[in-house]
Symmetry: C2
Amino acid sequence: MANPLCQNARVSSNLGLPNPKEDFSGWYNELVVKADLADHSAVRGCMVIKPHGYALWELMQRALDDMFKATGHVNAYFPLFIPKSFLSREADHVEGFAKECAVVTHYRLKADPNGGGLIVDPEAKLEEELIVRPTSETVIWNTYAKWIQSYRDLPLLINQWANVVRWEMRTRLFLRTAEFLWQEGHTAHATYEEAEEEALTILNECYARFAEEWMAVPVVKGLKSENEKFAGADHTYCIEALTQDLRAIQAGTSHHLGQNFAKAFDCKFVNRENQLEYVYATSWGVSTRLIGTLIMAHSDEKGLVCPPKLAPIQVVIVPMGRDDATRERTHGASDSMAAELRAQGVRVKVDKREKESPGFKYNYWEMRGVPVRIEVGPRDLDAGTCVIARRDNGEKQTVALAEAVATAARLQTEIQQAIYDRALAFREANTRRVDTWEEFEAAFAGEGGAGFVLAHWDGTGETEDAIADKTKATIRCIPLQPLDPGDAEPGRCVLTGKPSKQRVIFAKAY
Amino acid sequence: MANPLCQNARVSSNLGLPNPKEDFSGWYNELVVKADLADHSAVRGCMVIKPHGYALWELMQRALDDMFKATGHVNAYFPLFIPKSFLSREADHVEGFAKECAVVTHYRLKADPNGGGLIVDPEAKLEEELIVRPTSETVIWNTYAKWIQSYRDLPLLINQWANVVRWEMRTRLFLRTAEFLWQEGHTAHATYEEAEEEALTILNECYARFAEEWMAVPVVKGLKSENEKFAGADHTYCIEALTQDLRAIQAGTSHHLGQNFAKAFDCKFVNRENQLEYVYATSWGVSTRLIGTLIMAHSDEKGLVCPPKLAPIQVVIVPMGRDDATRERTHGASDSMAAELRAQGVRVKVDKREKESPGFKYNYWEMRGVPVRIEVGPRDLDAGTCVIARRDNGEKQTVALAEAVATAARLQTEIQQAIYDRALAFREANTRRVDTWEEFEAAFAGEGGAGFVLAHWDGTGETEDAIADKTKATIRCIPLQPLDPGDAEPGRCVLTGKPSKQRVIFAKAY
């Protein structure tokens, strides 16, 4: 049987990738396909998530789902379709939210009387068009209004794992696709304070922890400016990461929605004082975009570098040997190592393909981001050793066979930490503070990304727009904790010179 | 915080259900909502799966997913949308498959120039309409044609968990909804024999085992007649269960697709003899309909009866006490039992609500199908005992506190077996063999279901249609193993008197 995790292995050639330092965009696009993470589909802007990419997503889902449940949430499922009129109910939501949606207008096909194909049956037109959900606040709050009557029905702490569709004009695999997979939490609370606590719990206990502890991606936790917040939110929190081409990427958002959606869908409850009041809400989401974030934070010219905690295969064992007798020995040694690793909960694969050379296999599994490789050759076995190679830094070491399993297991922890440390050092080296407009313009003068630039801002949307017009830099967030104590001190806006309470992060963004 | 599994507990009243013996349909519809499994949504035919129902679905998914992976399958994800022209490619598929689909014709909304709402932007019309997938053979085989070149790329053993949409006119929660959740496996093979083995592996090792060992629902494994097979399949296997109102319900299907889709999407491979050949295929699926099956197989006038292996809550502990001092004792004893049960992997809930009476709580958790209840009252504690009640048969026993945990854990296994045995005995009592048309017509004369009727059939679609016209009974399957040895012996068709190879199962079906 073919290798189940990369069943269609032979389709992607292993001919190498563009140099990410010269062509980051081309490098990314090729890596996604060659590492068997995703592929383009016949439907414009929609992707196929391939088995190796989906295995990564399943590990992400499992970790996040555990975190949501540990913080008191449950899962449910709401309809894919939203009546068109629902989208108009919340004024800011309809005004600010993308109107590029997939619109269902008919519910039947019929045989074309003039030919062999199918046509849309004109008699099967819907009275009201349905929108494929771009996000589910409206359909969920329409339901919550039925479910919530009293403070005793609160809080509702519900999450859903779902597909959503936003008809993006320019798409890129994982980063921006017409259809993507995500989770969306939608919670209902009796007080503003409780909703605020919820939005921050998700940001701190789930999203930031997941990014840092699982994805090994350091993130800044911050507040979005009014211009950048979710349309319909009171305010939006986010986590922002830095890619290797020095752009910011938003990895997750947590919105305090205030009473906006409750008002739009007339969702009131009887509070403890026996008065009718509108319910407070949050919503929060992360998506398959996290896979794009992970790739852009860690990977290299050889392919994916995957943090061990999320690697579908954590250890690959490559037994060598050109004849049956030799293979019997190396396969036997490899199988017993694999069994020991599996018993310790390590996800392991023994690559016994006979027609591919060891070199081919090394490249193959490096492309797919396997953190640790064990090479088992006949001379190694004679010497009672094997070779262990790290994906993150390419280091190889010869270890005694008896130590191999312990070493491979220990390296999982070491590599997880090492790639986090490297990403953090990279971010720190590419974070600077700028105080004059000249410096600011110079920082963002090039075509590419410019890292995180911490500067003062007068707090107005007009200034933010003016800065974006001049430099393409936008405010990624207002950090909740200063990256450096001085960042929290007041100053003067880098463009207008007006007073500023603290530095904010500017960057070019994905 | 509200109970997270039934956060909106107070919405559903506990006022009891219709008698299932008198009004099975009304009983089912009310049970689904009152047991917090699902709810109707604002979108015609689309359901909201509520947290308790979704928790059940998650347990089903986990068990099935483990089975798929144990048999060598991996997950992936394919697009929600299918270009309209794809649906016309496989002639039988387009001819026989329901044309009731959600059709996306536009990709943008805009503000209505004549009012405050949104209208569909007439300028954003798609060149080719997109269909929301009713099933994914076409879009997947379009992709496989890119992935498969050689026998070395085979087999491809891929599954996806997804939502699908079929615009059903008459919908019922879980049984038939416009949108539902399912898994669909799509595999590609080098030979007919290997595809056949795959279709049977899924039927035997996954679907039938899951139905019997997890859902505690006995099923007949069989082959569909030509009339009933999947449009586009060479042949279709299925598992069929019997509901308490004596109807058949199809719980899962596994299709051998032959080379039909490979031909439609020009998917050829170079075989071992270096010749180009079309790929062989299977597809197979089970859906949220399984929840409907489970309800109809086991539940009663008090609500859901859930097999312990799939129960979101397996043990509920109800501590009593009208004053703080008493509650301190009963809560303490309950918490320590709960901790012990959790340590053994039992899903347990302590219901400490103060405003609800014990009787209310008993009804409440019986409605939601919790298999075992432990009642902890102050007098019980004085006597060093507690009361344990079974959901399946209502039996109560007083046990020593020291035995409570072991008893509650042991009852999980006993109840799982007991409800399976009961369902099997029920099916056997309602399976009969009929040899004359008079008897056959009499068997199906009433409005309701008539159990499984094993009769001879001449093997033609015309006869099957004629029988259905006269009696509303259809062939549910041709059993792969005879239920009774005599069923495999030849005979004469119950309608036409023509020769028949074996008895087949007739029933009225959901």
